[in-house]
Amino acid sequence: MSVTEYIRKSQLWRSVFRHPAPYDRRNRAVVVLTNFFLHLHPVSAKKGGIALSYTWCMGGVTFFLFLVEALTGVLLMFYYRPTLEWAFTDIRALRDVNTLGIMREIHRWGAHAMVITVWLHMYRVFLTGSYKPPREFNWVIGVLLLVLTLLLSFTGYLLPWDQLAIWAITVGSNMARATPFLGHEGPGFQLLNVGGFDLITNASDARFLLLGARTVGEETLNRFYIMHCVAIPVVVSLLIAVHFWRVRKDGGISQPL
């Protein structure tokens, strides 16, 4: 009995993997069915649908990058305090202390890469006409994922609390001032007024809601931190689950009829 065989036959191994090695046809099907992670896949698929030149693997790479971001993000959270006093210094210390090595680099470049791959995924889904019936709704979920990916990246951009960060967020969020009706410099906000008092001021408009203050400050940092580390990732995870479920329920990756 070889060593691998010995390990595979042990009680410990078989308690984790409840099937023999995927060497024959039957067990290659079983492995996909019984493994939690693999069961996202169907057991079999059309060759053309899983061809790399067809899907560009862009959805898969986006998902992988999301996982990388979650992992590196949690590691960074151990070293980062979202307050005016500490945010910047904590990030700078990361560079010097280097217990985490290039964790911050991977997190940042992974985020840029994810924005790019999500666009490319959408590009390929469009170009293969894969949004056509019955996959219309999954495309809609995809668009939501696209927005949330951009928002994830945007909220994360503020956290290092350097010049790059606050000014990019200031420029990006200034537009909210001009939201029709709900921004204090937007068309129609004067209509929302009770007995001569404007309901929409710079302390109650859409921008204030976004920033938690009149300008990008500590409240904003807190707000963006929670959005970045908790709120958006939870929603994205949920939507990715729905997205994958729908890929399967809509008949797998699209192929000509």
Binding site: G49, A113, I116, R124, W161, W167, A168, M175, P187
Partner: protein, 454 residues
């Protein structure tokens, strides 16, 4: 010593490695060409020479160039392989002018679509790849170019441009193949791959390789390029220019032509709603689940127009070309804070009242009754309001009976109106640009009293 050297030993060595990489890639291409491209019937009187000699010669040249870079150890300023000034000057003249920049991006877009049969040929595409990489490498010999392209957060954009280029090529390549098959009555490429295969190993292994490659890429990238960290945040030191993160620079660019409520709120919303609406307005049943151009010309062209020149093109413009005071700068131009650009844009209402009617602009009195104020404003802006309403409500029915007649009949009223509105909104950006350049038009409707400018 020059504080802004165009060339340093480090830069020259970096470029040397880049040329060496290109040498190896082109050696690979030479082999491919030797196997596939056949022979020249006769060349300079010699018969039966493989076409691959051209690539072999090119590769040898690259090797020479690479070695001459790597051999440099001192006196970088006297190194000869750099962009000539006249070239920089002419590129800058085209790039730094909004009209020629936009015209250029339109020409490129039209070429991508109209010349697809030509440029997707592997040899042509490979030549384009070589040309663009050499352009990039030579541009790196310019100090100002390096300042902007080498910014850590801008590096991914260069990568994205290559990826978008590659995948656009792949799309047209596969679409052309399928379109040819359909024309010849053969089955689609995807149809030929319609047997069921097990996901383990056929898909799972591909995924694993992708994961490994992405991991390797992130590690190399992370080691090579430290994440940026600038000075601590300061609410009083406003950088000039202040830029949003790069993926929003297309939106920021729209601020030049539209008020914030349009550029920052309405148009982004329309983009998203429009994207979500695509599956519900595209009634074309063909082209589902395979690459094709012929079966969905309108849909693909419209999408490519939105994605390539309007989205990617504007990001490039916003990142690499917009400098201090949001002025446009050439790729090789110093970002001078004092560069002056004369802006005297006028509103449509001003053109109408001052230039045509030779009258002062009607102004609502601050103490007037609110209805009187509204009346005066409407009188002042009637032309712009009419133009806008006509754009949104007269053009769709007009198109329905002319260019979009077939669409209208097949789509039904609601779908058609949604499509027409989305297309009109998308077209509003280039139109507004053209109006700005042609007649310095600022706003078509200008009601600053209500923060309502279009």
């Amino acid at each position: 010593m020059n504080p802004h050297p165009d060339l340093t030993v480090g830069v020259i060595h970096g470029l040397g490695w880049l040329y060496l990489l290109m040498f190896f890639l082109n050696v690979g291409w030479t082999v491919r060409s030797f196997r596939r491209d056949g022979h020249y019937h006769s060349l300079f009187g010699v018969e039966h020479i493989p076409k691959a000699v051209v690539w072999a010669a090119f590769s040898a040249l690259l090797l020479l160039v690479a070695l001459s870079h790597l051999a440099v150890n001192s006196d970088p300023e006297s190194f000869l392989l750099r962009l000539p000034l006249w070239f920089k000057g002419s590129v800058d003249a085209i790039i730094a002018n909004p009209i020629s920049y936009f015209a250029l991006s339109m020409v490129v877009f039209l070429a991508v679509v109209c010349l697809k049969d030509w440029w997707v040929q592997p040899t042509v595409a490979w030549t384009l790849f070589n040309a663009s990489t050499i352009f990039l490498a030579l541009s790196m010999t310019d100090y100002d170019f390096r300042q902007i392209v080498g910014k850590p957060d801008n590096v991914p954009i260069v990568g994205m441009l290559y990826l978008v280029g590659f995948f656009t090529w792949l799309y047209f390549y596969k679409a052309n193949d399928n379109d040819r098959r359909v024309a010849e009555g053969r089955p689609l490429h995807e149809k030929e791959l319609s047997d069921q295969v097990l996901v383990w190993p056929d898909l799972v292994y591909t995924e694993m390789v992708c994961m490994l490659l992405v991991t390797a890429l992130l590690i190399v990238w992370g080691v090579a390029l430290p994440a940026p960290l600038e000075e601590p945040a300061s609410a009083v030191k406003t950088p000039n220019p202040s830029k949003a993160p790069w993926y929003f620079l297309g939106l920021q660019e729209m601020l030049v032509y539209f008020d914030p409520w349009m550029a920052g709120v309405v148009l982004p919303t329309i983009i998203l709603v429009g994207l979500m609406a695509i599956p519900y307005i595209d009634f074309n049943k063909a082209g589902n689940g395979y690459y094709t151009f012929e079966h969905r010309k309108f849909a693909v062209t419209t999408f490519l127009f939105g994605f390539l020149p309007l989205w990617i093109g504007m990001i490039v413009l916003g990142t690499f070309i917009r400098g201090p005071n949001w002025n446009m700068f050439g790729l090789y131009e110093y970002w001078d804070v004092h560069k002056l650009e004369v802006l005297n844009n006028v509103n449509l209402s001003e053109m109408f009242w001052l230039d045509v009617m030779k009258q002062p602009l009607p102004r609502p009195g601050a103490d007037d009754d609110i209805l009187v104020q509204v009346g005066v404003i409407l009188k002042r802006e009637w032309l712009g309001i009419l133009v806008t309403l006509a754009y949104l409500f007269v053009i769709p029915p007009l198109m329905a009976v002319t260019v979009f007649k077939k669409f209208f009949v097949r789509m039904g009223f609601i779908r058609y109106m949604v499509l027409a509105t989305l297309v009109l909104f998308m077209a509003s950006l280039p139109l507004k640009m053209a109006l700005r350049w042609a007649m310095n038009m600022k706003y078509i409707v200008a009601i600053p009293e209500w923060f309502f400018n279009i």
